[in-house]
C-alpha cells in the first residue's frame, strides 16, 4: 500500500494555519479529500467544525471555493449550485457538500434525501465525529450507545447509532462508501473514484475527535484504526448496488480476526460510564452488522 502514496496529488489545498483543534481527525481527512477532488470543485458547507477550520472572514485556510450555508440546507445548497452552474453552462465543475454527522443524520437529512432522490449530480460527504462537536459535544443520532455527551451527561446515550448508510442506500444512488481519517489511501482512492461517477454520491468518513471523545490528541490515528480493527467502522463501498469491503476491513473479513470493541472503548473518556450490559449490547450490534456485511460480500 505505501507505494500508492506517490500517486497522491502533490498540490495542497489546505493551507497552513487552519483553526481545527489539535489532533483533529477532520483536518487529516480533509487534506486528502481536497487532494482527490482538486481544482474545478465548488464546496458547500453548513455550520460545523469545518466552518471553523475554514477560518474567519476575511481570511481562509482552504484554496477551493466554498459557499457556507445554513445547517439544514447543505444538500439543497449543492442542488442550487448544480442548477446554477448548469444554467451558466459550467458542467465541468464538481459540486461537493460536506457536513458533519449532525448536519447529515439529523438536521440535514431532509434536504439530503430530496437531493439524492432527484439524482442531483453531486458528492455529499458526511464527516462523522459522532456528535455536535463544534457546539461542545452534544448528542446526535450518530453518537454510539453508552457515550457521554454534554446532553447525555449522566446516563450516557441509550440508543444505537443511526445507520445512515442504509438510509442512503435506499435512495438507489450509484456510489456510496465509508472511509476513515486513519486510512488516507482508502479515503483518497474513494474520492478519486467518486469524482468520476455521475449522479448522487455519498461518502461517510469516520473522524475521531480528541476533545469530544476524550482521548489525547496524539492518539487520533490510533483510535481511528482501532475503530476499524474492531469492526465498529467498516471500510466498504457500494457501487451500483454491489457491496465490497475495502482496505483493512477487507483483510479483516478475509482473515476473520476482528478485535473486540473493548479495545476501542477503553481508550476513550466518553465511554467511562458505559455499563457492562451496554458494552455487551455494543459488541452484539457490531457483530450483527459485520455478519450482514459478510453475507453481502459473498
Amino acid at each position: 500500500m505505501p507505494e500508492k502514496l506517490f500517486k497522491v496529488h502533490k498540490e495542497e489545498y489546505m493551507l497552513p494555519g487552519n483553526r481545527a483543534c489539535s489532533g483533529c481527525g477532520l483536518s487529516l481527512a480533509y487534506r486528502y479529500v481536497l487532494k482527490a477532488l482538486r481544482e474545478n470543485t465548488i464546496l458547500t458547507i453548513p455550520a460545523s467544525c469545518l466552518t471553523v477550520l475554514h477560518g474567519l472572514y476575511p481570511t481562509t485556510s482552504v484554496a477551493i471555493p466554498s459557499l457556507n450555508c445554513t445547517f439544514a440546507s447543505t444538500a439543497a445548497s449543492a442542488s442550487g449550485l448544480v442548477a446554477g452552474l448548469a444554467a451558466m453552462n459550467r458542467s465541468d465543475i464538481t459540486v461537493v457538500a460536506i457536513a458533519g454527522d449532525g448536519g447529515t443524520f439529523d438536521i440535514g437529512i431532509q434536504a439530503l434525501s430530496g437531493a439524492a432522490e432527484r439524482g442531483t449530480d453531486f458528492i455529499f460527504v458526511c464527516y462523522d465525529n459522532e456528535g455536535y462537536m463544534n457546539t461542545g459535544t452534544q448528542r446526535s443520532s450518530a453518537t454510539p450507545m453508552g457515550a457521554l455527551t454534554t446532553t447525555t451527561p449522566i446516563l450516557t446515550k441509550q440508543q444505537n447509532k443511526k445507520d445512515m448508510m442504509k438510509i442512503m442506500e435506499g435512495h438507489d444512488i450509484p456510489y456510496l462508501a465509508t472511509t476513515s481519517s486513519s486510512f488516507p489511501i482508502d479515503l483518497y482512492d474513494k474520492f478519486v473514484k467518486a469524482k468520476r461517477i455521475k449522479g448522487t454520491r455519498y461518502l461517510q468518513i469516520a473522524i475521531p475527535c480528541p476533545p469530544g471523545w476524550v482521548f489525547p490528541p496524539k492518539d487520533t490515528v490510533k483510535i481511528g484504526r482501532l475503530a476499524v480493527e474492531t469492526g465498529i467502522v467498516v471500510l466498504y463501498e457500494i457501487e451500483d448496488g454491489k457491496f465490497r469491503f475495502t482496505g483493512r476491513s477487507k483483510t479483516l473479513a478475509e482473515k476473520g480476526n476482528r478485535a473486540p470493541v473493548i479495545n476501542f472503548v477503553e481508550r476513550q473518556g466518553r465511554f467511562r460510564k458505559m455499563s457492562l450490559e451496554q458494552l455487551d449490547q455494543f459488541q452484539r450490534s457490531v457483530d450483527h452488522k459485520w455478519n450482514e456485511y459478510m453475507r453481502r460480500a459473498e
Binding site: 481544482e39 474545478n40 470543485t41 465548488i42 458547500t44 466552518t51 471553523v52 475554514h54 477560518g55 474567519l56 472572514y57 476575511p58 481570511t59 481562509t60 482552504v62 484554496a63 477551493i64 471555493p65 466554498s66 459557499l67 457556507n68 450555508c69 445554513t70 439544514a72 440546507s73 444538500a75 439543497a76 445548497s77 449543492a78 442542488s79 442550487g80 449550485l81 442548477a83 446554477g84 452552474l85 448548469a86 444554467a87 451558466m88 459550467r90 465543475i93 431532509q110 434536504a111 434525501s113 430530496g114 432522490e117 432527484r118
Partner: protein, 401 residues
C-alpha cells in the same frame, strides 16, 4: 403592439418570470401560489423557457437553491405563500445577508394555527425585517409589471425583492393583462451581473464566520465586521427607494403604465379623510372613496405599494394635509396594532402634525371586505373623530365580545 389576455394573478406572475428569462426556478407547492410554478414547469418542460427547474422537498430548500444558484451567477425565482414563506424564514435572512437579487412572488395567505388557506397579509408582513424589499400589488397588471421591475431593482441594489399579491382575490381572479413585448423587456432588463461569482477561477470562502469587529485580510486591508455589513444592507434598502421610483418611471415611459413608485393615491388632493392600505384592500378602498363622495364626504385613498423600504418621505407628503387617516390592513402585530398603521404614524412623527389615525384590521383569513363596509367604517370613524377619539383600533366584521 399590445397583447392583452385574460388571466389570473398567478398566470400574470408566471408570464413575468418568462419575460425576465429567469435561469433557475425552484419551488414547493402551497396554496394559493402553486399555479405560478405549475405554469412555469410546463414552459420549462416544453422548452419554451430555457431554465433549470429544481423541484425540491421543502420551501427551506427552495430558498437555499435560489441562494446557491444566484451565487454562481444565475437569475432565480420562486413563489410561495403563508407557511411556505415562514418555513423559508431562515433562508430569507440568508438571501438578504448574501445580497442576492432573488425575486419571490408571495401570494398572500393567512397563517395557522388553525389552518387557513385564505387571504390576508400576515405571512409577508411577519417577514418584513428580513432585509427584503416588499412590493404589494393591487391588480394582475401590476403583478406582471412589478415582477419585471423587481429584477431590475434587485440586480441594481443587490437586495432580494418580494412581490406580494393577495391570494385568491388576485391569484385566482381573471383580469385583462397587457403582456409586455419580450424584446422590450430584454432592453429594459439587462443581464444579471453578480457582485461576486463563486467559481474555481477565483476561489473564495463566501459567508464564513465573521467577528463583531473589523479584521485585516492577507493583504493587510481592513475588512468589515458583522455590524458594518448589516449597516450596508440597511443603507442599500434605504437607498433602493430612488432606484424603485426611477425604475417605475422608466417602466412607465417604455410600457405606458405607471404603478406609482413607492405609493399611489386616488382623489387625495381635496380629501377630508384619507384611506390607506396595501394590495387589493387599497383597490377596494377606492370604490369606498367613490361611495363616500356620493354621500358628500370627500374621501381619497393612498395605496402603499412598497412597504420595505418604507416610503417615509412620500407618506409624509401624502398625509400631512389630511384631517383624518383611516388605515385598513390585513395583518396584526399582536399586542399592538396593524403594522402599516404603526409605520404610518411613525413616519408622521416629528413634523408637527396631529392627525387622528384610526386602524381597521380587516379580512383576516379571507373574511370578506366589501367597499360599502369600508365606507361605513370611515363614516363611523369620522363621527368618533368629531367627538374626540383620535386613535382607535377596530376589527372589521369581527366578533369582539
Amino acid at each position: 403592439m399590445s397583447d392583452v389576455q385574460i388571466m389570473t394573478g398567478n398566470q400574470a406572475a408566471a408570464y413575468g418570470v418568462k419575460l425576465c428569462k429567469v435561469q433557475v426556478i425552484s419551488a414547493y407547492p402551497i396554496t394559493p401560489s402553486t399555479p405560478v410554478t405549475e405554469t412555469i414547469s410546463q414552459w420549462v418542460e416544453r422548452g419554451e423557457l430555457k431554465a433549470e427547474y429544481v423541484r425540491v422537498e421543502s420551501e427551506h430548500s427552495v430558498m437555499t437553491v435560489c441562494v446557491a444558484a444566484s451565487t454562481v451567477g444565475a437569475r432565480t425565482f420562486t413563489s410561495t405563500s403563508s407557511h411556505g414563506l415562514l418555513y423559508m424564514c431562515e433562508q430569507l435572512h440568508w438571501a438578504a445577508g448574501s445580497r442576492l437579487p432573488i425575486v419571490l412572488a408571495c401570494v398572500n395567505r393567512g397563517v395557522g394555527a388553525p389552518w387557513s388557506i385564505f387571504n390576508d397579509q400576515q405571512d409577508s408582513i411577519s417577514q418584513r425585517d428580513t432585509g427584503w424589499i416588499q412590493i404589494y400589488c393591487r391588480d394582475n397588471q401590476e403583478i406582471i409589471d412589478s415582477l419585471i421591475q423587481a429584477y431590475r431593482i434587485a440586480e441594481q441594489v443587490y437586495c432580494p425583492v418580494m412581490v406580494c399579491y393577495d391570494g385568491f382575490v388576485l391569484s385566482h381572479t381573471m383580469m385583462p393583462v397587457d403582456i409586455p413585448d419580450a424584446d422590450k423587456v430584454c432592453e429594459f432588463l439587462p443581464p444579471y451581473k453578480p457582485h461576486t461569482i463563486l467559481s474555481p477561477e477565483d476561489p473564495r470562502n463566501i459567508n464564513p464566520v465573521i467577528f463583531p469587529w473589523q479584521r485585516r485580510d492577507a493583504e493587510g486591508v481592513l475588512r468589515d465586521g458583522y455590524m458594518d455589513m448589516r449597516w450596508k444592507l440597511q443603507h442599500a434598502l434605504e437607498g433602493s427607494r430612488d432606484v424603485i421610483v426611477q425604475t417605475c418611471r422608466e417602466y412607465a415611459e417604455r410600457f405606458g403604465r405607471d404603478h406609482g413608485g413607492m405609493l399611489w393615491s386616488y382623489k387625495a388632493d381635496d380629501a377630508e379623510v384619507l384611506l390607506a392600505g396595501m394590495g387589493s384592500i387599497a383597490t377596494e378602498a377606492t370604490t369606498a372613496a367613490d361611495l363616500l363622495r356620493e354621500g358628500g364626504i370627500r374621501a381619497g385613498v393612498v395605496g402603499i405599494r412598497v412597504y420595505r423600504p418604507f416610503p417615509r418621505a412620500e407618506v409624509r407628503e401624502a398625509f400631512h394635509k389630511a384631517p383624518a387617516i383611516i388605515v385598513f390592513e390585513k395583518d396584526i402585530s399582536y399586542g399592538y396594532e396593524g403594522a402599516l398603521s404603526a409605520d404610518i404614524k411613525a413616519a408622521l412623527y416629528g413634523i408637527g402634525i396631529q392627525t387622528p389615525v384610526h386602524n381597521y384590521i380587516a379580512g383576516l383569513g379571507g373574511r370578506d371586505v366589501k367597499a360599502n363596509e369600508l365606507a361605513e367604517a370611515v363614516r363611523s370613524s369620522l363621527a368618533a373623530i368629531a367627538s374626540g377619539t383620535r386613535e382607535q383600533q377596530t376589527w372589521l366584521n369581527c366578533v369582539t365580545e
